[in-house]
């Protein structure tokens, strides 16, 4: 397994000059340059800034912008091009196509798994690496060799909140399930939830199908309350799910509610308000993790958001950009070596001089660069705010730590926090 940050190789001034001259002769000039003088590569990102999933996309935008300011200026310099993918397949397709017409080295996004199944094949066919930052449905990495994700699949994360509910109320027996049937993530997640419910010996008393566009749930709630559930499990997006939680509480439901990854955002506070309190949501990120990279991320976030803790979608988007930047850095070093003769490398090592970072990547034809980036990205191990992560050859993320949070709202019901449940913090294989 390659190290996260391989030691950089020194180069002689002569090699630097030769390499620079080579670059000019080969006509591989970067379109624009970072302040340091290294060429700037373009990274595309498509997140939902409008529509039902915009509450997720807003979290992601913050993460991407923070990561771009943290890593984008370091060689190899990256420029982030952010496009609104809406919350539907058509808008995401247009956004992907717009970005693919530009010299992007890779893409991050889209926000929804439903969109990923529609747009990732386009990027895959074009040979552009796509790194999903929030796609958790089953089958996303299998879309193609250029598709990978940093967001742990529902099969890993979803069961944890059911287990946590069982620990909180050992007597619970009857479980009702709601899911948005028009959304790939929700339909995928509910299968895991239902399997987990049955695996724990709990009784599934009703399954209610909703839509991500729904905001009025009186009818399914009335049907559900007649089944007297002890736990209600929801797979939905922040807006429909938040309204569902609010209406459940207002119609008198007092039992536990576990929500899926789609509602894993502080943006639900404004929708379900004080009724968000007590909501159980499994997490692939903890703001409390005491690693240097997470402390730095939390510091950057809190500087921008008045001391509040960063949510999971923000952390995942940040980590996605970080992973691509680190993979590019590694590739740059590899290419710097490959493009020079062994004689020059040897001289460089003797004189202990750094190469101009990013030059080697700028000299690569774009299709080759994208292909090489995809290979390097999947081979690396990364120390991110999500903890140490790596990938399977198919592009599935391998992450160690998962958590379950319980939403705690303030007295006014305006804001809250995701308080991690103290016991236990499950570690999955």
């Amino acid at each position: 397994m390659p190290p996260t940050r391989p030691p950089s190789l020194p180069f002689p001034a002569l090699a630097v000059g030769l390499a620079g001259a080579c670059g000019v002769l080969l006509g591989c000039q970067a379109s624009n340059r970072a302040p340091s003088g290294s060429p700037t590569l373009t990274l595309g990102a498509v997140v939902a800034l409008t529509g039902n999933a915009s509450l997720i996309g807003q979290d992601q935008r913050v993460g991407l912008e923070l990561a771009a300011s943290e890593f984008g200026g370091r060689a190899p310099a990256l420029t982030l091009r952010l496009e609104d993918g809406g919350s539907d397949e058509q808008t995401a397709t247009s956004a992907f196509r717009r970005l693919l017409q530009q010299p992007v080295v890779a893409l991050i996004g889209p926000s929804l798994s439903q969109q990923a199944f529609a747009v990732d094949p386009i990027a895959d066919r074009a040979g552009v690496p796509v790194l999903g930052a929030s796609n958790t449905a089953m089958g996303v990495p299998e879309i193609g060799p250029f598709v990978s994700r940093i967001s742990a699949p529902v099969s890993k994360v979803a069961p944890l909140s059911i287990q946590a509910a069982k620990r909180l109320n050992p007597k619970l027996e009857r479980v009702a399930v709601f899911f948005a049937q028009d959304d790939a993530y929700s339909t995928s997640e509910t299968k895991i939830f239902q399997k987990s419910i049955q695996g724990l010996g709990l009784k599934l008393v009703t399954v209610q199908r909703t839509s991500t566009a729904d905001i009025d749930f009186h009818k399914p709630i009335a049907d559900t309350l007649q089944t007297r559930p002890d736990l209600i499990v929801i797979s939905a997006l922040p807006n429909d799910g938040g309204n569902l939680v609010r209406q459940l509480r207002e119609m008198g439901y007092t039992g536990l509610i576990a929500a899926g990854n789609g509602m894993n955002s502080p943006n639900i506070y404004s929708v379900c308000q004080r009724y968000c309190d007590g909501l159980l949501i499994a997490q692939a990120y903890s703001p409390e993790a005491q690693t240097a990279v997470n402390r730095r991320f939390v510091q950057l976030y809190q500087k921008r958001h008045q001391g509040t803790s960063p949510p999971q979608f923000t952390a995942q988007a940040y980590a996605a950009l970080q992973v691509i930047h680190e993979a590019l850095t590694r590739l740059d070093r590899q290419e710097s070596l490959r493009q020079l003769s062994p004689n020059l490398v040897s001289k460089a090592q003797k004189l202990q001089i750094q190469p101009p970072k990013g030059q080697a990547l700028a000299r690569m034809p774009l299709p080759d660069l994208r292909r090489a980036l995809n290979t390097v990205l999947l081979q690396g191990t990364y120390d991110t705010p999500l903890g140490e992560i790596r990938f399977t050859p198919e592009g599935e993320v391998i992450q160690k730590d998962f958590y379950v949070a319980r939403v705690k709202m303030d007295a006014a019901g305006k804001t809250g926090r995701f308080a991690l449940l103290p016991n236990p913090s499950p570690t999955l294989p």
């Binding site: 529509g51 209610q208 909703t210 566009a213 905001i215 009186h218 807006n239 019901g413």
Partner: protein
Amino acid sequence: MEGLLQLLFNGLSVGAVYALFALGYTLVFSVLGVINFAHGAIFTLGAYFTYFLIGGTVGANGLMAGQQLPFSLPFWLALPLAGVGAAAVALGLERIAFRPLRERGSDPLLALITSLGAGVILVNLIQLLVGAESYSIPVGTLEALPVAISIAGAKVRTVQVLLLAIAGLLLVALSIWIDGSRSGKALQAVSEDPVTAQLLGINSGRMIQIAFGISGFLAGVAGGLVGLSVSIAGPYFGIGYGLKGLGVLVLGGLGSVPGAVLGGLIIGLAEACVPADLSGYKDAVAFGFLFLMLLIRPQGLLGRPLAEKV
């Protein structure tokens, strides 16, 4: 019995909103013979107006990020004012998107397209100014009232009862005005034949403005009420109601005020009757029902068959 009551309340409260929405379509259709596709945007505006009038703050996105009005009103005052604001926008829309075409004697189809364009512009304007995020009227807005009440064993959210009551009140008031007042009868005359009405001394242009004003007011109030009940799910949240409103308009009978009310309630109840296993398909069930009804009675429930003029 308890389940039936629950179903009835759920169906009627949703149906009442559909009816309010469809009445706006109906009023404009009755005087102009065209469907105002910007009606959904006016409904959305009503919800936003209510939110800001009660002291809501613009979110992190949009040109007006972080701003709020220097005052905040109680919901009871904010709701009618939001209706008035929506009515003012509807009047502006009539002036810009409908009147110029009408004065030139253009095909009504063109007015349909301009209204669609105006609706799209309004929605995008909302997004530009206040962002695409979801807004919610605070839960404690109706502090004096309990969150939910029990009616013969059926648990109903107070906001549902309120929604049904206000919608019912507005529908009754509108019916009384149309049938019992001079201006209401003038509106009916214009809907029958604007030229003859003009010859009889009725100012058709004025009546059209009144129709737009009332239509906008109803949409604004409906938007505010829905915003109180559920969240304002971004600038596009009127679209779903707009589609349902169109269905109600056709089911009730184009241009029929009682038909719009009846159609709204029927669609609301039809949705409420959809079994749990099919709850995600309630729109398909409602529109399937509409389709069947129209096969049997193409003019709608209370509409008149179109007579060919020779």
